[in-house]
C-alpha cells in the first residue's frame, strides 16, 4: 500500500493530533514531522502525553482512546482507517519498539519465529526464506544466529530489546517509533542498545521518533527535539539549539533540574506538579517562574519556525548560566567524625534448590560476596551498581541488624551479631530507610499521619507528626490524607519524614529518586542534601544512576556482581576512575549536553553481567583483560581491594578518561 506517494519531504507528518481517553484530553493539538534518516527526540515527563502520541500514530490506542487530527505517512492519512488496513502499514512501513520487550514479545514462540512471522506477513516470503532473513536481522542487532531458537524468557533484557529492534526493522520501515526503549535497561546495556538503534537506522534509512524522559539519551542521538508538556508541544528545534538556548521556561527548568555526571551543582527543581487536566491558558503557568497575567488568558501556540517555543515571551538566554551561584557546598567539620556504619567482609549467598520432592543443591548465587563499607557521621556514601549487582541485598542485610552469613556489620560501634533483642530494637531507631518506590513504600490503607506516627508509637516517643511533615516541606494539615492523594514526589517526602521520625544517625536511601520525574527528583535531592546539613545525618545512598549519586555523595563505592570494585572520594571517582568497570559505567552514562555527549570517548562494554566460576568477575567484559593479553591471574584469582579501594589486578596509574 502506501507507495512512494511523495519522494521528498517528511516521511511522517503529524498535524494537530488530538487524543482523549474517556473525554479526558491527553494530547491536544500536537504537530511535528520527521524526514527519512532523521531522529526526532520527543521529551516529556510522565503524563505529558508522549506515549499517547506514539500509540495514536501507530493506530494502537486502547478502546477508550479517541484520536483526531492528521497522521500522514508519505502524505497519506492514517487516522480513521480501519484496523485491517492499518495492520498492513504497521510492521511494514511503521514499526514500534516498546519499553518492555518481555511483554512485547510472545512468550510461547522463539524469537526467530516471531521475526520470521513479521517478514512473512508483509512480504509473503517462504518460511525458509523468512527464517533466513530473521537470522540475518538478528546478526545485524548483535544476537548470534544460534539464539534465534531461544524463547524470550531465555534472553536478558538487553537481548530482548535487540530482538525487538530486529523485528521492528524486519521490513525496512519508513518510520521507527521507539517509546522509552532503554528505560528498563542498565546504563551499560543502554549504551549498547542505543548503538544498535543507530545501526538499525543506518541500515534501513528510516526516520526515528525517539520518545524518552531522559535528556541525556536525547542529547546523544537526536537531530531535532520536541518537548511535550500537558499534552502539547511547548518547544521544538535542533537539539543543539534547544539545549544551548532553551526558549520555553519549562525546557530551561528541565535542563536545570537534571542531575549531571560532570557537576555537583545544586539542582533547581521546578516547583509544583504537572496539570492533571487541561487548564485554561498556558499549561505551565502555575509552575512558571516568569508567569504573568497574560499567561492565563490564552494558551500560546507553537510558532512555525525551525526553533520555536509555545510561550508568549520566549527567553533567549542560556539554560545554565544564570543560576550558577549556589555551587558553594557547606562543609560541616565535625571534630572527629564517628564511624556510623562499618561493614567488613559482608557475605550473603543464596542457595538455589532444584526439584519438587528431593531438594538438591543446584548452586549458589553470590549476591553479596565480601564487601567492606564505611560511613562516617555527616557523610554520604554512594553505592553504585547495575541491577543484580547485590546492592539491595547488601542494604537488606545491613537493615536487618542481624548476624550476617559471614563478616561483620557494626552500627555506631555495636556489632549486630552480638545484639540482644532489646538492643537491636533500640538500634533500629538509629538506622532508617527510604525506599525506591513511593507507591509501594507507604501503606495505602493508612493516612500519612498514622504512617509517620508509626515509628514514634512503636518506640513510645512523643507525637511530632506535624513537625516532621513541615520538615520535609509538606503541610502539617495533610496528616489525615491517604497516600494516593499525594503525588510521587510528595509521597517520597512522606517516606523521608517517616525515616526521620526517630532522629536516626544513618539513613539508607535505596534509589530514592529513580521512580520520579526529573523536575520532581531535583526537589527531593535538594531536600536530602539540606536535611543532611541541618541534622548531621549520614547517608548510605544506593543508586544505579551515576549523575544522581554525584549530587549527594562524598564518597562512592562501585559494586559489580557482589563485590566492590572501586571506592574513593567522589571527585576522584568521577574525574579519574581507575577500575575498567567504573570507567565503562561513567562513559556509558549519557550527559544531557549534545556537544559534550557527542564528543565523548566511549569505553564500550560488551555483554551483560554474568557470574564466572573463578577469578575476576568482570573479566568476561573487561577491555583491560583483552588489552593485556588475557593474563592468567585474572582467571585464577579474585582481586582483593587495595588500601586505596581498588579491586583490579592491573590498576592504571596515569590514566584519565577523556570525556
Amino acid at each position: 500500500m502506501i507507495p512512494n506517494a511523495r519522494e521528498h519531504g517528511p516521511v511522517l507528518e503529524v498535524r494537530e493530533l488530538q487524543v482523549s481517553f474517556g473525554g479526558k484530553a491527553a494530547v491536544r493539538g500536537v504537530s511535528f514531522e520527521v524526514a527519512a534518516g532523521e531522529v526526532l527526540g520527543v521529551v516529556g515527563e510522565s503524563g505529558s502525553g508522549k506515549s499517547a502520541t506514539a500509540l495514536a500514530v501507530m493506530g494502537l490506542l486502547p478502546a477508550a482512546g479517541r484520536a483526531g487530527g492528521e497522521v500522514l505517512l508519505r502524505g497519506e492519512q492514517l487516522l480513521g482507517r480501519p484496523d485491517r488496513e492499518l495492520a498492513g502499514v504497521r510492521g511494514r512501513h511503521l514499526a514500534m519498539i516498546f519499553q518492555d520487550p518481555l511483554s512485547a514479545l510472545t512468550p510461547v514462540f522463539t524469537i526467530g519465529d516471531q521475526i520470521a512471522e513479521t517478514v512473512r506477513i508483509h512480504t509473503g516470503a517462504t518460511a525458509r526464506a523468512a527464517l533466513a532473513r530473521a537470522v540475518e536481522l538478528l546478526d545485524l542487532v548483535g544476537i548470534p544466529a544460534a539464539r534465534a531458537r531461544s524463547f524470550p524468557h531465555e534472553l536478558s533484557g538487553g537481548m530482548r530489546q535487540r530482538a525487538m529492534i530486529a523485528m521492528a526493522i524486519a521490513n525496512d520501515p519508513l518510520v521507527l517509533i521507539a517509546d522509552e526503549p532503554t528505560t528498563a535497561l542498565d546504563v551499560t546495556v543502554q549504551a549498547q542498545i542505543l548503538e544498535v538503534l543507530r545501526l538499525a537506522r543506518e541500515a534501513t534509512g528510516a526516520a526515528l521518533v525517539m520518545i524518552t524522559h531522559d535528556l541525556g539519551v536525547i542529547a546523544g542521538c537526536a537531530d531535532r527535539i520536541a518537548v511535550m508538556y500537558g499534552g502539547r508541544l511547548v518547544e521544538q528545534g535542533p537539539v543543539q539549539d534547544v539545549f544551548d538556548r532553551p526558549r520555553h521556561p519549562y525546557t530551561s527548568g528541565l535542563l536545570r533540574a537534571v542531575p549531571r555526571l560532570d557537576s555537583a551543582r545544586r539542582l533547581l527543581p521546578i516547583e509544583g506538579f504537572p496539570p492533571q487536566r487541561p487548564e485554561p491558558g498556558c499549561q505551565f503557568a502555575p509552575r512558571c517562574p516568569l508567569v504573568s497575567e497574560a499567561c492565563t488568558q490564552a494558551e500560546p501556540r507553537l510558532p512555525d519556525a525551525p526553533h520555536s517555543a509555545a510561550c508568549i515571551k520566549p527567553t533567549q538566554r542560556r539554560g545554565e548560566s544564570e543560576h550558577e551561584d549556589e555551587a558553594t557546598v557547606v562543609m560541616k567539620v565535625f571534630p572527629e567524625p564517628r564511624q556510623v556504619l562499618e561493614v567488613r567482609g559482608l557475605v550473603r549467598h543464596h542457595r538455589v534448590n532444584r526439584g519438587a520432592w528431593v531438594r538438591r543443591r543446584a548452586g549458589v548465587v553470590r549476591a553479596v560476596d565480601g564487601i567492606n563499607l564505611d560511613v562516617r557521621e555527616g557523610e554520604t556514601l554512594g553505592l553504585v551498581g547495575e541491577s543484580g549487582c547485590g546492592k539491595t541485598t547488601a542494604l537488606m542485610e545491613i537493615l536487618s541488624l542481624r548476624r550476617p552469613q559471614d563478616g561483620t556489620i557494626s552500627v555506631l560501634g555495636q556489632d549486630t551479631a552480638t545484639l540482644s533483642r532489646r538492643d537491636r530494637r533500640a538500634l533500629r531507631g538509629e538506622v532508617q530507610v527510604v525506599f525506591q518506590n513511593p507507591m509501594a513504600s507507604l501503606d495505602p490503607r493508612m493516612p500519612v499521619g498514622d504512617i509517620i506516627a508509626e515509628p514514634l508509637v512503636t518506640h513510645g516517643r512523643p507525637d511530632r507528626v506535624g513537625e516532621l511533615l513541615a520538615l520535609v516541606g509538606l503541610d502539617p494539615g495533610d496528616a489525615g490524607r491517604y497516600p494516593r492523594e499525594f503525588s510521587g514526589g510528595q509521597r517520597q517526602r512522606v517516606g523521608i519524614a517517616r525515616a526521620l521520625a526517630l532522629a536516626p544517625r544513618l539513613i539508607v536511601l535505596d534509589e530514592p529518586v529513580s521512580a520520579l520525574d526529573v523536575s520532581v527528583q531535583a526537589g527531593i535531592l535538594n531536600l536530602l542534601r539540606d536535611l543532611k546539613d541541618r541534622l548531621g545525618l549520614a547517608y548510605l545512598f544506593v543508586s544505579h544512576d551515576l549523575a544522581v549519586v554525584r549530587q549527594l555523595a562524598d564518597r562512592v563505592a562501585v559494586m559489580y556482581l557482589g563485590r566492590i570494585v572501586e571506592t574513593g572520594p567522589v571527585e576522584q571517582i568521577y574525574s579519574a576512575p581507575n577500575h575498567p568497570y567504573t570507567q565503562a559505567l561513567l562513559s556509558a552514562a549519557p550527559v544531557p549536553d549534545p556537544r559534550a555527549e557527542r564528543a565523548r570517548m566511549r569505553v564500550p562494554l560488551p555483554g551483560e553481567a554474568v557470574p564466572v566460576a573463578a577469578g575476576c568477575e568482570f573479566r568476561p567484559r573487561c577491555p583491560r583483560y583483552i588489552a593485556f593479553g588475557e593474563p592468567t591471574v585474572c582467571g585464577s584469582h579474585r582481586p582483593d581491594p587495595s588500601p586505596q579501594g581498588l579491586a583490579c589486578h592491573f590498576p592504571q596509574h596515569e590514566f584519565a578518561v577523556s570525556r
Binding site: M396, R428, Q432, N437, L442, M446, P447, E454, E485, G495
Partner: protein
C-alpha cells in the same frame, strides 16, 4: 486516626447505612417482634390448622396449628446469630491462620498449612452429622463452632498466598525496620490490606452458614424440632410452597433480606476501609 476516618466515611455511604439499618431492624424484629404476637412459637392453636394469614395469625398457621409469625421470628433469632457468628469466627480464623502462616513462613507455615489441608480433606458434612447426635441437648453454640470450624480453610489458603506477596512490600519492610512487632505488623498492615477479600468472604459466609445450618437441620442434624431456624421453617414449608405459600414465603423473604443487608453493609465497610 484511621478509625475515625473510616467511621466518617461509613456514615456518608448510603448503601452501607441502609445495610446496617436493615440489619439492626431485623435484629430488633427477631428479638422484640415475638412480644407483639398473640401466640408463642411453641403454642399450638387447635382451632386453626394450615390457615392463611389473618388477624389472629399474622402469617398464618402450620399443619400442626403453630403460628408461622412466631415460628419465623424464632427461627430468625437462631439464624441471625448463627450466620453472623459463624461468618465472623470462620473469616477471623482464616485471616489469623493465613496471615501468620504467610508472614512467619518456615515451620509455623508448614504446620498450619498441614492442618488446613487435613481439615480440607475431611468430609465436613458427614462429620457434623456424625458428631451432632452427641451434641443433642447441648447449646447451639457448639453448632456454631462446628460450622465455623469447617468453613475457614480455603480462605486461609488464599490469605496466606496474598500475605506472601504483601510481606515483601516496602511498607511492611519499613515497619519491620522501625522495630514494629510481628503481630502488630499483621494487624496494622497485612490484614487491613486484605480487608476487601475478608469482608467479601465474611458476607458470603453469613449466607453460607445460614444455608448450611438449614441443610443440616433439614436432615435433622442442626437445630432440632420443636425449636426452629429459618432453615427448618423453609424446609418444612418448601414442599407445599405453591399451595400454602405463607408457610414458606416470610422465612425465605427474611433470609434474602438478611443476606442482602449483610452484603450492603460489607460493601460499605470495604469502601470505607479503602481510601478513595
Amino acid at each position: 486516626m484511621r478509625g475515625t476516618l473510616v467511621l466518617a466515611r461509613l456514615r456518608r455511604h448510603p448503601a452501607a447505612l441502609a445495610g446496617f439499618v436493615t440489619l439492626t431492624v431485623l435484629f430488633v424484629l427477631a428479638f422484640a417482634g415475638p412480644c407483639a404476637a398473640r401466640w408463642d412459637w411453641n403454642q399450638i392453636d387447635f382451632t386453626a390448622f394450615r390457615r392463611p394469614p389473618s388477624a389472629q395469625h399474622w402469617f398464618g398457621t402450620t399443619a400442626t396449628g403453630r403460628d408461622v409469625y412466631a415460628l419465623t421470628l424464632r427461627g430468625m433469632q437462631k439464624s441471625l446469630v448463627i450466620g453472623l457468628l459463624v461468618a465472623v469466627l470462620s473469616t477471623g480464623l482464616a485471616a489469623l491462620v493465613g496471615a501468620f502462616a504467610g508472614y512467619l513462613g518456615g515451620w509455623p507455615d508448614r504446620l498450619l498449612m498441614w492442618g488446613v489441608d487435613l481439615l480440607l480433606v475431611l468430609p465436613s458434612f458427614l462429620l457434623v452429622a456424625v458428631l451432632s447426635p452427641s451434641l443433642r441437648g447441648t447449646s447451639w453454640v457448639l453448632l456454631v463452632l462446628l460450622l465455623a470450624a469447617f468453613m475457614w480453610m480455603v480462605t486461609a489458603r488464599v490469605v496466606r498466598g496474598l500475605t506472601l506477596s504483601l510481606r515483601e512490600q516496602e511498607y511492611v519492610l519499613a515497619a519491620r525496620f522501625v522495630g514494629v512487632s510481628t503481630p502488630r505488623i499483621i494487624f496494622r498492615h497485612i490484614l487491613p490490606n486484605l480487608a476487601a477479600l475478608l469482608i467479601i468472604d465474611a458476607t458470603l459466609n453469613v449466607s453460607l452458614a445460614i444455608i448450611t445450618e438449614s441443610g443440616l437441620s433439614y436432615f435433622g442434624f442442626g437445630v432440632q424440632p420443636p425449636d426452629s431456624s429459618l432453615g427448618t421453617v423453609i424446609a418444612d414449608g418448601a414442599g407445599a410452597a405453591t399451595t400454602y405459600p405463607w408457610l414458606f414465603a416470610p422465612a425465605a423473604a427474611l433470609l434474602v433480606l438478611t443476606v442482602l443487608a449483610v452484603n450492603l453493609a460489607g460493601d460499605g465497610l470495604r469502601d470505607a476501609l479503602e481510601a478513595q
